[in-house]
């Protein structure tokens, strides 16, 4: 039996929930609250990959004794382990495009989405906690990169100037996806695929976080794409895993932007 460790159905955590529902693969939902940092406790499934994965905080899929992390690679795993779900595309070029989008979105889109979401929703939520206690807990986190991603939310790293630059940088990936959707309604080929699940989970929050970038006016094709994915029954089921009234406001530190500047 598959076990999915996930939080609110948003961004990284939403992806495997949709894919499992699309594949109609039975799984046990293991809900956790990343803000409580329970994912660092020894009781949480851990291996080298889950500790080092570049999303910092994300879903973990446990299949038998294997602990899988990295949300796009979990999508590929679900798709390949459930061939009847037709989530992988039928031809090598379609699969190349899906993987290239997965990589592009992970590196160009996800860091900015997570940063804007953390600045808007996670930072105020963490401010409400006992700061001394919170700092002491964050200081103990390993590895350094994950510790730093939590520290950045509370230490004022997301100032206005930084956020403005993040918004500006998000323009390129958003425009590229908008243009790609001119060629067809799905990202990687003629049919719906894991590339669309991936892009849906990462783009959806931008309508709220950066309406000047994603919305009816700025990106009519993305808006239509988001509507089409949202209408799928599997997406409805995935979103039903929410335990808070506003899952689209649930953010955790995500992948860091490129260190090259």
């Amino acid at each position: 039996m598959l076990e999915l460790y996930h939080s609110e159905p948003n961004v990284y955590f939403l992806k495997p929930l949709i894919a499992l529902e699309e594949a109609q693969a039975p799984f046990t939902s293991r809900y956790f609250d990343p803000g409580s940092l329970e994912q660092y406790s020894p009781r949480f499934p851990q291996n080298t990959e889950s500790m080092l994965h570049l999303e910092r905080e994300g879903p973990v899929l446990v299949d038998g004794g294997t602990i899988l992390s990295g949300s796009f690679f979990i999508l590929e795993y679900i798709a390949e382990a459930n061939p009847g779900a037709h989530l992988p595309l039928a031809d090598p070029l379609g699969r190349y495009r899906a993987r290239a989008w997965g990589q592009f979105n992970a590196l160009q889109l996800a860091p900015g989405v997570c940063a804007l979401g953390c600045a808007k929703y996670l930072a105020p939520a963490l401010k409400a906690l006992d700061q001394e206690q919170l700092r002491a807990r964050i200081e103990r986190l390993e590895p350094k990169e994950r510790r730093a991603s939590w520290a950045a939310v509370i230490d004022g790293s997301y100032d206005e100037q930084t956020l403005a630059k993040i918004r500006e940088r998000l323009g390129m990936p958003v425009k590229r996806i908008e243009s790609a959707l001119a060629a067809g309604r799905w990202l990687a080929g003629d049919t719906y695929s894991i590339a669309d699940i991936d892009a849906f989970a990462l783009l959806s929050p931008l309508a709220d976080l950066a309406p000047e970038l994603v919305g009816e006016r700025a990106t009519p094709r993305i808006t239509e794409f988001l509507r089409a994915v949202r209408a799928r029954p599997a997406v409805e089921k995935a979103l039903a895993h929410a335990r808070t009234p506003n899952p689209q406001q649930a953010f955790v530190p995500g992948a860091e932007p490129s260190r090259w500047g």
Binding site: L68, F73, E76, E80, A106, W260
Partner: protein
């Protein structure tokens, strides 16, 4: 018709070169000199408007992302499979390729660009270099080239890259202690990716990557180096940088005495 646009068998260019060699697939090779900015010239921008290397052109299909490109090569052509059949091992291969591509490689390449790429072009006329930067399509690549050309990497950035290079080396050694190959039991694209990133580690990180501290990495690099496809691919190199691979030649017993 299959054409690969590439630079030296090294890093991203070396990934599809080695994958094609392992598959035994013949291709038309189109060499671009990265240090001469061939990748930003109009004739290449018609192939890849992003101006990044490598690019694979298969009939009317153009592929420009090296890691997904390797999976395409494995799927689209006959030859020995370069991905494990087991989905879990495939997941492991992909997870590590991303760790290489997005964590380990950018840190090693920042060091490489500051000590090698930058100095290799820095002596040229400033206006010529500024004009070269202007022709780069992607903002992120313009920033990278500017930093390399004018030595604008901060000490803090370089120190963090050195820390990550050491951390990545240790993580890789641990992984190879538990698994013979990156994906597990069999040679795969993960090893091709890792070799392109790591073949020069014993030279660039001599205190960190050596027979005493990282015996598993050394054995892994040497076994990949000994594969005929690797030998054939590195023989296509045109510059000194690929000579570093020869350090992986095993010292025979006769030579030791």
């Amino acid at each position: 018709m299959l054409t690969l646009y590439h630079w030296e068998p090294n890093a991203n260019s070396g990934k599809p070169m080695l994958a094609l060699a392992e598959k035994g697939v013949a291709y038309q090779s189109h060499y671009l000199d990265l240090l001469n900015f061939d990748q930003h010239r109009p004739e290449y921008l018609r192939v890849n408007p992003d101006g990044t290397i490598p690019a694979l052109v298969h009939d009317d299909r153009i592929l420009t992302e090296s890691t997904p490109m390797m999976e395409y090569i494995d799927e689209a052509f006959d030859g020995p499979p370069l991905r494990p059949a087991d989905p879990k091992a495939r997941w492991r291969m992909r997870w590590w390729m991303r760790f290489f591509d997005a964590y380990f490689a950018p840190s090693l390449s920042m060091i490489g660009w500051s000590v090698f790429v930058g100095p290799a072009v820095r002596h040229r006329d400033r206006r010529e270099l500024e004009a070269a930067i202007e022709r780069i399509p992607l903002e992120s690549r313009r920033i990278a080239w500017r930093k390399a050309m004018f030595n604008e990497f901060s000490e803090g950035e370089l120190a963090e890259s050195r820390r990550r290079a050491a951390f990545g080396t240790d993580a890789l050694e641990k992984h190879l202690t538990e698994h013979k190959w990156i994906a597990g039991d069999s040679f795969s694209l993960g090893d091709i990716n890792g070799f392109n990133l790591g073949y020069a580690l014993p030279i660039s990180q001599p205190d960190r990557c050596n027979d005493q501290k990282t015996p598993h990495i050394m054995e892994w690099l040497r076994s990949i180096y000994e594969r005929p496809a690797t030998k054939a691919t590195w023989a296509k190199g045109r510059t000194q940088m690929v000579e570093r691979v020869k350090l992986l030649e095993r010292k025979h017993a006769a030579n030791r005495s």
